[in-house]
């Protein structure tokens, strides 16, 4: 089973509180925030590794990023993926999800033409930074593959390469169980698994694994569909929402605080039910 995994380097979501907007230039200031592999993309890599353990085949990682994206790809190769493709060119910059999906699809098609075709494309359901969740669906549409998003479980039964997979999709009040025919694109959420750690041996092996870089010339895309020009959505102003409140401190012993808290709660008109039992 040949699996492509789409991976994106993102600023570490644990540190989004320290991202600011420069009041002069109105540009984003994310200095000091390290770049990591998007958390749900790591889950996609883990899901791919599990499928490979069962069915064999190879795993190719794709990322569209500036040249320093190479470092993050090495990390994913160290987890156990077989090959990596860095899709990188200034002309790809400023792409929205539609242009990004198109560019990734061109890379997947190029890789398929050069070696074997893919049975499955996996991706994190959404990136931590932009979090649109569009890419799995849009890549699926453009490849002409079946596609599903928000997958929390993949069940692969039987021996040999399967024709279809049973997958569970997270919905508002539970799960949808789908059978999806391959080839397919599947977006997975972080609920699906806990990604493995990289081993020292994995890091050493990663250095010897095939690594391709595709620039714009290599992909020969329709230029009207890449980068800023190929993006139907345009970014306007950015701002930080005002969520500030007065943060009045209650102090004293826990008992004193509890006493004051009960007073404050009553003052805003919330009723405390004597004896509890409201949710029984």
């Amino acid at each position: 089973m040949n699996i492509g995994v789409l991976v994106k380097p993102v600023p570490d979501p644990e540190q989004y509180n320290s991202i600011t907007i420069d009041p002069e230039t109105k540009r984003l200031n994310r200095s000091g925030v390290p770049t990591i592999v998007n958390p749900s993309d790591k889950c996609a890599v883990e899901a791919a590794l599990k499928l490979k353990e069962k069915f064999g085949g190879k795993i190719v990682i794709f990322t569209m990023a500036p040249p320093d994206g190479r470092e993050k790809l090495m990390e994913v190769l160290a987890m156990g993926a077989d090959e990596a493709v860095l899709v990188s060119d200034r002309e790809f910059g400023g792409a929205d999800t539609l242009a990004t999906s198109y560019t990734l699809v061109k890379a997947v098609e190029k890789k398929s033409a050069e070696s074997e075709s893919f049975d499955l494309i996996l991706s994190g359901n959404e990136s931590a930074d932009g979090a649109t969740g569009h890419v799995p669906a849009q890549v699926g549409e453009m490849l002409g593959f079946n596609h599903l998003s928000a997958i929390v479980q993949i069940v692969a039964e039987g021996e040999g390469r399967p024709d279809s997979l049973t997958v569970f999709q997270k919905i508002e009040n539970g799960k949808n169980e789908f059978e999806i025919k391959l080839p397919a694109v599947i977006g997975v959420t972080r609920d699906i698994n806990k990604p493995r750690y990289t081993s020292a041996m994995g890091v050493i092996k990663a250095k010897k694994k095939p690594f391709d870089t595709y620039d714009c010339e290599a992909l020969s895309p329709d230029k009207s569909r890449i980068g800023i020009e190929g993006s139907p959505t345009k970014a306007g102003a950015i701002f930080t929402p005002d969520t500030g409140r007065k943060s009045e401190e209650l102090s004293g012993s826990p008992e004193e605080i509890a006493e004051e808290l009960v007073k404050r709660i009553k003052a805003i008109g919330v009723t405390i039910n004597s004896g509890g039992g409201c949710r029984e």
Binding site: Y16, G133, S149, N173, T233, I238, E249, L261, I265, I268
Partner: protein, 336 residues
Amino acid sequence: MSNRKIFIYAENDCGAIENSYFELLSKAAALNVKLTELEGAPAQLCAVTVGELGEDSLNSLVESGTDVVYSITDESLTVYNPAVYSEAVAQLCKLEEPYIFLFASTAMGTELAPSLGVKLHTGVSAHCVDLRFDDSGAFIQDVPAFGGKVIGEILTPDTLPQIATVKPGIFQCECLAAKSAEVKKFSPSLDSTVLDGIVLKDVHVKDRDSLPVEQAETIICGGFGMGCDENWEVLDRIANYFENSAVGCTRPALDEDWTDDDGTMIGTSGKTVRPKLYIGAGISGAMHHVCGISDAEFIVSINKDENADIFNVSDIKIVGDAVKILTAFEERLVQE
């Protein structure tokens, strides 16, 4: 009325209309006021629904205050299949050429909207927190980035429809003046190859005996600072003292398996809530969580770190061990 059409996707939840439709319609009606100022005439508000609806549900759409209800039906649309649904909706769009198309960013909406973006070669904005027209008539879609720390304006200036998904719970339902909408039936022509790629085998609905967090008036929410499984139970006991209450959680608490109900997670990848009272215990205040509670009327936070980010967005700040404070609070509630 102008020829412009604002489409609103009315999610068909087992024959009933999902509440998010009414939230989107309320916003669309407000947008229409500005559009009338700018253009001299309002756009047509159109509900779009796929699959058979019960008579009551169809009536609730017809009387919701929209001008037109497009009812897309076909025997292949009785069961949800995202590939078939998006194809059917795309065919309607090619025929009717909407100006704007709004979806709720539910599981269904977040799958259909980007697929439609590809089929119609147009832009899609995701999880919008506000929608507006500026004075030049540009349709501005405010989207959160970096877990809600930053809001960015998105415009789709050159292609139509301008597609946006909106997080449920962001816009409030307003009652619109009743009128009887015209129902237009649409039958798509669906190729058999689209039909069998994905098959819905089953729907596993989680039985919930408690009130959903998004409907709660009081929320007791626990985070990583609750420390362990056993400590979690105090949240439930405290919630018992409040009518229409629910216990919520953050992503780290869910990851620790202190609760298994991922439907109670609040924030960017969970629910947006607007309770009268929110009490957050052991929550650091990561943007992913904070942006889900910013519309709460009154926020009380307990954290042992006096510099925790959560305090910046709180009305009441309590520095201390969450479990100790909650235990004292519970003992005080017993005396009520």
